[in-house]
Subunit: 195 residues, 2 copies
DNA sequence: GTCTATAAATCGATAGAC
DNA sequence: GTCTATCGATTTATAGAC
C-alpha cells in the first residue's frame, strides 16, 4: 500500500473519498484523523490537501454527492398514475438504493452535526426534496381515496424511518433474501397507509 | 459558573454526567473534550477524574443508566391479556419516554461505536431485552389471530424504527400535541400489523 | 503531486500542593 | 475534592524541497 515519491493520480482523489467514507462510517468523522485517511490511501497527510481544502469539506462532499445520487436515481423511477404502485416502487427503490450504499447513508444522517450551518442547510434541503417525493405520493393517494393517513408529513417521516431501519440489521448472508425483505416492508407500509 | 477552590460535591458527579450528556448529544462523543465538560460544570479538567476513571466510562455510564431506566420504566406498564391493548400501551410508552429524554436516546444509539467491545455487548444486551418485550406482544397477537405480520422480528425493528423517528422532528411548540402524535403513530402501527 | 518537516493548538490523563 | 501544572501524544493545516 505504501507509495513512492512522484506523481500519481487522477485516481488519488477518488481513493481519498473512498477511504474517508469507509473510515467516517466506521469510527465517526470526529474520531478519524487526516493521517488515518492518508495511511489508508497510501500517501502522506499533507498530500490530502491537494484534493480538499480541509477535513470538513471532505465530509461535505461525500454527503452532497450521496444526496445528489439519491435524487437523480429516484428520478429514473417513472411515476405512474396509481399512487399504490408509486408507493410500492418507492419502498423498493429506497430499500435497495440504501442497502447498496450503507456507508453513505450512515454518514448522511449521523454526521450532519459536524457540518457548518451553511453546509448543513444545503444537505437538509436535498433531504427534504427527497422526502417531498414520498409525501406527494401519499397526498395523491389520500386525494383519490386510496390511502388514509392522519397527517401526510408525519406519515412520510414514519415510512422513511421505518425503511431506514433495514440498514441496521440486514446482512446479505442473512435469513431473508432482498426480495423477501422488500416484500415484508411493503406489506407493512401498504397496510399502515391503507383505508 | 466559575467555582472557587475547596470541596464542593455530592452534586458534582451528577452535574458532570448532565454536562457530558448534553455535550455528547450536541457535538458527538469524539468531538467533546474533557476540558469542555469541565468548563460546563465549572471545575478544572483534572477534577473530573475524581468521578470517572476515563472518558469512555463516562459515556458508558450514561448509556447503561439510560437503558436501565428504560427497562424498569417499561416494567411499570402492566401487561394485559389483550395484545392489541398491550401494543397500544407500548407505542404510547415508547413515544413519551423517549421524548422526555431526547439526549439520552440520541446518545444510546449514536455513540455505540465509541464503546469498547465489552461495554458495547452489555448495552446491546439491554437494548435487545427491550426489543424482546415488543416482539412478545407481536408474537402473542399473531398467535391468537389478532395480528398478521410476515416476520415478528422484522416487524419489531420496523415499529421501533418508526417510533424513534418522532425524535427527529417533534417539538413541544409544534403543530401537534403529544396526544395527537401518539394517536397518529398508533393508527399507523395498528394498521401495519393488522390482519 | 507527493514528500518531509514543522508550526501551533489541543488532546486525555496524571502528579502533587492545598 | 479541587486546584495548578505538566507530560507525552496527537491534531489540522502549512511551507518548501523535489
Amino acid at each position: 500500500m505504501a507509495r513512492t515519491q512522484g506523481s500519481h493520480s487522477d485516481i488519488t482523489g477518488p481513493r481519498i473519498r473512498k477511504a474517508a467514507l469507509s473510515l467516517f462510517a466506521r469510527h465517526g468523522y470526529a474520531a478519524v484523523s487526516m493521517r488515518q485517511i492518508a495511511a489508508e490511501v497510501g500517501v502522506q497527510a499533507g498530500a490530502l490537501y491537494n484534493y480538499t481544502p480541509d477535513k470538513q469539506s471532505l465530509l461535505y462532499r461525500l454527503m452532497r454527492d450521496h444526496m445528489h445520487e439519491l435524487l437523480s436515481a429516484y428520478d429514473e423511477v417513472e411515476a405512474g398514475s396509481d399512487p399504490a404502485e408509486d408507493l410500492r416502487k418507492f419502498v423498493g427503490f429506497h430499500i435497495r438504493f440504501n442497502l447498496q450504499r450503507p456507508d453513505e447513508v450512515f454518514i448522511a444522517y449521523m454526521e450532519l452535526r459536524n457540518l457548518s450551518s451553511e453546509y448543513f442547510a444545503e444537505i437538509e434541503t436535498l433531504r427534504r426534496r427527497y422526502e417531498d417525493q414520498l409525501e406527494s405520493i401519499l397526498r395523491e393517494g389520500q386525494r383519490v381515496g386510496q390511502f388514509s393517513v392522519a397527517d401526510t408529513k408525519i406519515a412520510t417521516l414514519a415510512v422513511i424511518a421505518m425503511l431506514n431501519g433495514v440498514l441496521t440489521w440486514y446482512r446479505a448472508q442473512g435469513r431473508l433474501s432482498l426480495d423477501q425483505v422488500e416484500q415484508v416492508y411493503w406489506d407493512m407500509v401498504r397496510k399502515a397507509v391503507a383505508i
